[in-house]
């Protein structure tokens, strides 16, 4: 993938703006850049076609006496990641923001500001990370902060003034505490404010605490999200293996890929059921989940648990697959294919589903590109983006499959992308089972040197999941997770504007939001400050 010429183009472009190469590892190039030059460097990368994967603040004072901010850019055309490392002195912690050129950095810069106390110049900053009652000047990701410190709490009455139609924080459509405030005119949404990050559990900090070791973190990573947890644990172990140069047995890679696809099947079926429920078609919900139940049973049979599978280890997997399991997999996916085909036909024949899903929650291709959306949301807006193709990992380089692409960008297109992906996943599992190599499933002997860095990405059911790791002694020094929903939520604002109120829940659900993924470390308020008043007119 990585050709020397494309590498030298990138290096040359960045050296022109004062950055220099720090390290080249596998498909990652690390650049050092001063805080004054970071904006120009980011601009240079953007003009080469890069997109921002995420940024991360690291307290490197123990290593170099400085703070560091990493900007991770993906150049998917070249299959290369370019990482900018900006060093920030601890007694004068500020850097220049890249947001004016790279809007996608908005959230992660604010996260760095609030969790590490680094100020960003040249952009609007506001205190919004962490709960409102969190004291000033306490930064959880600084090393001197203990992971189990609990600053005094003030129980405040919240959301007393309700200006819009509150959807949440407890709302039957979401099943997760999130808060959207919809500003409506009649029954049409004119704007939306998002108040999220209720599920901040301090996972990144916990992983670098004394309580955890490299081997235990996969179980923590799995609990970032109860739907796509295996993606997170796989991505974590992949990042560690990459950093430490551990070669995983091929059979383990295949098993991981099979389980990842099983997880995608259950996730998409779950989503389809929820979408049907939101459209008032409970029969669709029940039948989708009835079909899904067999996938859950299969997952338990393969891994030992219906969810949070717990089979990932650094160096491989804990459970092997035998012939009985292979038979069960093949039988389940054959039945699934048949039943799913029928169900989709029946569902799409329901007039309300077609009429309410099509033309609502539209995200154009241009908007999708500008907002760097990922996964089915991107593919439904005509953006060809799939980590399994762009950065092939595990066993995906060995199988052939199609990436479903729709151009309408509406709720129906996102539904159809997921439907197509179910069929593709079934095909992928079949191929993987056919080619399953022999051998062991885990390497026991390995060594993880400290101070290594790596970026790993996996195509989760919801889109690209990125993990960035800096190794430490016995445990990660810094572990940064960027879940797909993190990237997709900002697109909701574009999608919801002009959508009928009745379709707002479906539109919110159509990005298949997973707030627990997004919220691991942050609390965020994008309330625009603009208070449009509601006019509740009669429905017509």
């Amino acid at each position: 993938m990585k050709s020397d010429s494309s590498l030298s183009t990138i290096v040359k472009a960045l050296e022109e703006v004062g950055a220099f190469v720090e390290e080249v590892r596998d498909s990652e190039v690390y650049f050092r850049v001063t805080r004054e030059n970071v904006k120009a460097a980011a601009r240079a990368l953007y003009s080469l076609g890069a997109y921002l994967k995420t940024c991360a603040g690291v307290d490197e004072r123990e290593l170099s006496g400085l703070f560091a901010v990493y900007y991770i850019f993906g150049l998917d055309d070249h299959g290369v990641d370019a990482v900018l490392r900006v060093l920030v002195p601890q007694d004068d912690p500020w850097t220049v923001s890249v947001v004016p050129d790279v809007p996608a950095a908005d959230w992660c810069e604010l996260e760095v500001r609030d969790l590490l106390g680094i100020d960003f110049r040249g952009r609007l900053t506001k205190r919004l990370v962490l709960p409102e009652d969190w004291p000033e000047g306490v930064y959880p990701l600084r090393k001197e902060f203990k992971y189990d410190e609990k600053p005094p709490r003030v129980l405040r009455e919240e959301l007393s003034e309700e200006v819009g139609i509150p959807v949440g924080p407890y709302h039957p459509a979401l099943h997760e505490p999130e808060y959207f405030e919809l500003y409506v005119e009649g029954e049409r949404v004119v704007d939306v404010a998002y108040r999220g990050f209720h599920v901040h559990r301090g996972i990144e900090k916990l992983a670098e605490s004394q309580r955890f070791t490299y081997k235990q973190v996969p179980f923590l990573a799995e609990r970032i999200c109860g739907i796509c947890g295996f993606v997170h644990s796989s991505c974590y172990v992949m990042a560690v293996e990459k950093a430490a140069g551990i070669v995983v047995p091929e059979r383990a890679e295949f098993i991981r890929s099979i389980v990842l696809e099983v997880e995608r099947l259950h996730s998409h079926l779950l989503w389809l059921g929820v979408a049907a429920h939101l459209l008032g078609y409970d029969a669709g919900f029940m039948h989708a989940w009835r079909i899904r139940e067999q996938v859950m049973v299969l997952a338990e049979y393969l891994t030992g648990s219906r969810k949070t599978y717990g089979i990932n280890l650094i160096g491989g997997v804990r459970k092997d697959i035998n012939t009985e399991k292979i038979d069960k997999v093949l039988k389940t996916i054959t039945d699934l294919r048949k039943e799913f085909t029928e169900l989709v036909k029946a569902m799409l024949a329901v007039p309300q589903i077609k009429s309410r899903a099509s033309g609502t929650g539209v995200l154009t291709k241009a908007e999708a590109r500008a907002l760097s959306v990922v996964g089915p949301v991107a593919r439904a807006s005509g953006l060809y983006r799939d980590v399994r193709k762009d950065y092939p990992y595990l066993a995906y380089k060995r199988v052939s499959f199609k990436v479903p692409l729709y151009t309408e960008g509406d709720n129906l297109a996102r539904l159809l992308v997921r439907v197509d992906e179910v069929f593709e996943s079934i095909e992928i599992i079949k191929q993987l089972i056919d080619m399953l190599p022999g051998g062991s499933v885990v390497v026991e002997e390995y060594d993880i040197p400290s101070g290594r860095r790596a970026v790993a990405a996996i195509e989760a059911p919801r889109g690209e999941d990125v993990h960035f790791i800096i190794t430490g002694v016995g445990r990660p020094y810094r572990w940064r997770v960027r879940a797909p929903t993190y990237q997709n939520i900002p697109a909701l604002r574009a999608m919801l504007r002009g959508t009928p109120l009745a379709d707002a829940p479906l539109t919110i659900a159509s990005i298949d939001p997973c707030f627990s993924c997004t919220d691991r470390v942050t609390v965020l308020d994008v309330r625009s400050g603009r208070k449009s008043f509601i006019r509740l007119k009669q429905g017509v």
């Binding site: 939101l278 008032g280 078609y281 029940m286 009835r290 309300q352 589903i353 009745a502 429905g539």
Partner: protein, 284 residues
């Protein structure tokens, strides 16, 4: 008269059972077992054992809920009274009283919804209003037409179709349950209710379904031309059958959106009504 009262009382007592049956059948279409047939009764009885929480609005509010229930009982009583001699022979007074009562029920429900200090409830109330505006006039016209006994078989059939559709709409089922649409409105008009008041509202919603099913059953039985006790019995028996059809229809459809619902209803009902007028004009 006595028979009509007996039929009305029987149907009122059976309505929650029909509702339980509806849930059972819906469950069967979902490939699951579902609740016991008496489940709706259990729910109502439980709600009445709960403490009374009077929402903002207080006594006025309780009054509206009780009045709504009374109006529903009265309208079903009228229907069973009419049943004893067939829809074609209803007096003008009876027909008008029925129409007025149905509008009163709808109006009270809307009043109840919008008088609450809750956005969801208010939105739900407005939706109910728009829905009522689109269904109620057609219900009235077709009912009065059938009650007058005039017109040919063709025009009667069309009027029955209009009545069947508009009475389905007032039953508050999918796709027209948009007033209490759970996903976006968190049970909408009922959100602020609790305990016995919610119990009353639950009975009201069951009775709405009863009135809707009885209405269609009555119109259909009228074609057969029965009268007296046999007509009454036929209506009482046909009611759960219509209820069953309503159940299946509501299970295989999704929820509509207020604008789509109204557009669809207007198109359908206007089409049917113009055919009706045409058939009258041509004297078919």
């Amino acid at each position: 008269m006595l028979y009509s009262v007996a039929a009305a009382v029987l149907s009122l007592a059976l309505a929650p059972v029909y509702d339980g049956l509806e849930r059972k059948i819906r469950a069967a279409i979902h490939t699951r077992i579902g609740p016991p047939i008496l489940q709706t009764w259990y729910d109502i009885l439980k709600l009445f054992t709960k403490e009374i929480v009077v929402p903002v609005g207080g006594a006025w509010y309780t009054l509206v809920t009780a009045l709504e229930l009374l109006a529903l009982i009265a309208s079903s009583a009228i229907l069973y009274h009419i049943s004893s001699y067939g829809l074609g022979h209803a007096t003008l007074l009876e027909s008008v009283a029925f129409i007025v009562l149905t509008s009163v029920v709808a109006t009270l429900a809307i009043v109840r919804a919008v008088s609450q200090n809750n956005v969801f409830s208010v939105v739900g109330g407005f939706r109910e209003f728009s829905l009522m505006l689109s269904a109620e006039p057609f219900l009235a016209v077709s009912f009065l037409l059938l009650a007058s006994g005039a017109g040919s078989l063709a025009s009667k059939s069309i009027a029955t179709a209009v009545l069947a559709v508009s009475s389905y709409v007032i039953s508050g089922r999918v796709p027209y349950d948009i007033a209490e649409a759970e996903p976006e409105l968190a049970s909408g008009v009922n959100i602020e209710l609790a305990g016995p008041l919610l119990g009353l509202a639950t009975i009201s919603s069951v009775l709405k379904k009863l009135v809707s099913a009885t209405l269609t059953a009555l119109a259909l039985i009228s074609f057969v031309g029965l009268s007296g006790l046999s007509s009454l019995t036929a209506v009482v028996i046909a009611t759960p059958v219509v209820w069953l059809v309503h159940t299946v229809v509501s299970t295989i459809l999704g929820r509509s959106r207020v604008d789509l619902a109204i557009r669809f209803l207007y198109v359908l009902l206007f089409f049917l009504s113009s055919t009706l007028v045409l058939s009258f004009g041509l004297g078919l």
